[in-house]
């Protein structure tokens, strides 16, 4: 759990920031598409943005695996529940 050995340089953060802004723009554009088209696109865009923040801004890519493990435990606890409920909930 020592300090991360590699700190991304400032330009790398700027690229991540630019990618996040670009993805947000794409998301807003995609929101005007037909529902069956926009749903997968928006989930991919949101997932990519979340990953960029977690891996680079939160340094999980460079930091101890223990931190990633703590986050994964939370995800593993709640993801199956969300998936099951999404599958069994009848549409209104």
């Amino acid at each position: 759990m020592n300090e991360p050995k590699i700190h991304p340089a400032a330009p790398q953060y700027a690229w991540v920031f630019a990618a996040l802004v670009a993805l947000t723009g794409l998301e807003v554009g995609a929101s005007y598409l037909a529902p069956q088209v926009r749903l997968p696109l928006l989930l991919i865009f949101a997932g990519a943005k979340a990953l960029l923040v977690v891996l680079y801004f939160m340094h999980l890519r460079f930091d101890s695996r223990i931190y990633a493990g703590l986050l994964l435990i939370g995800l593993l606890l709640v993801s199956p529940l969300i998936l099951i409920v999404a599958l069994i909930t009848p549409a209104g």
Binding site: H7, V21, V28, A46, V53, L70, V78
Partner: protein
């Protein structure tokens, strides 16, 4: 005593706060995951109500608010970079910028809420219940982040952070980025899908 020395040698004290924040964030994943679960149920059962309210939502305003939160996250990594390089004045400017952006985000959310109330959206409606509950809880997290940030700014003003000692900035940053990630998910689920 030898065991204690061995333990402290293996886990440096300065890393304990960071470990605790990550453990807390793991719990927060479950917390917001459970809230998203309720949103999925509401959405599936009340698809017509969700489609109707969608026309009331201002995507440009919320898109701008999303940009504000992303920009604040970028300033957090720049603030951390500044103090790692020993630039205390730069750290302070970045922290002040994060505070302004966080306050702007909350202001944008307050504006959106007041507009939706004026349009007649009720907290008890099929859309209003999960919307106000979940975005409200997220906003509360932003508010808590701002209070934490004030504490970090006070310590920075007192010169407590340096290139060798800056974990207070880093742990605050982890929390702030997490709040950003949650908003990325909520922005998609409430406004875009």
């Amino acid at each position: 005593m030898a065991e204690l020395q061995a333990a402290t040698a293996f886990v440096p004290q300065r890393e304990n706060a960071k470990l605790a924040v990550w453990a807390f964030l793991g719990g927060e994943v479950v917390f917001f995951g459970a809230l998203i679960l309720t949103l999925i149920v509401f959405r599936a059962r009340e698809a017509a109500a969700f489609a109707e309210v969608r026309t009331l939502l201002s995507i440009p305003l919320v898109g701008l608010n999303t940009f504000i939160l992303i920009l604040s996250s970028y300033l957090v990594v720049r603030a951390l970079g500044a103090i790692r390089a020993g630039r205390q004045r730069s750290l302070l400017w970045h922290l002040a910028g994060i505070f302004v952006l966080g306050a702007l985000f909350l202001g944008g959310q307050a504006l959106e809420w007041s507009t939706l109330f004026a349009e007649g959206l009720s907290v008890r409606s099929a859309f209003g219940t999960p919307f106000f509950a979940i975005t409200g809880l997220h906003g509360t997290h932003v508010l808590v982040g701002l209070m934490w940030l004030v504490y970090v700014i006070v310590l920075a003003l007192r010169g407590r952070y340096s290139s060798a000692s800056h974990q207070g900035v880093e742990t605050f940053g982890l929390y702030w980025h997490f709040v950003d990630v949650v908003w990325i998910v909520l922005f998609t689920l409430f406004y875009l899908i």
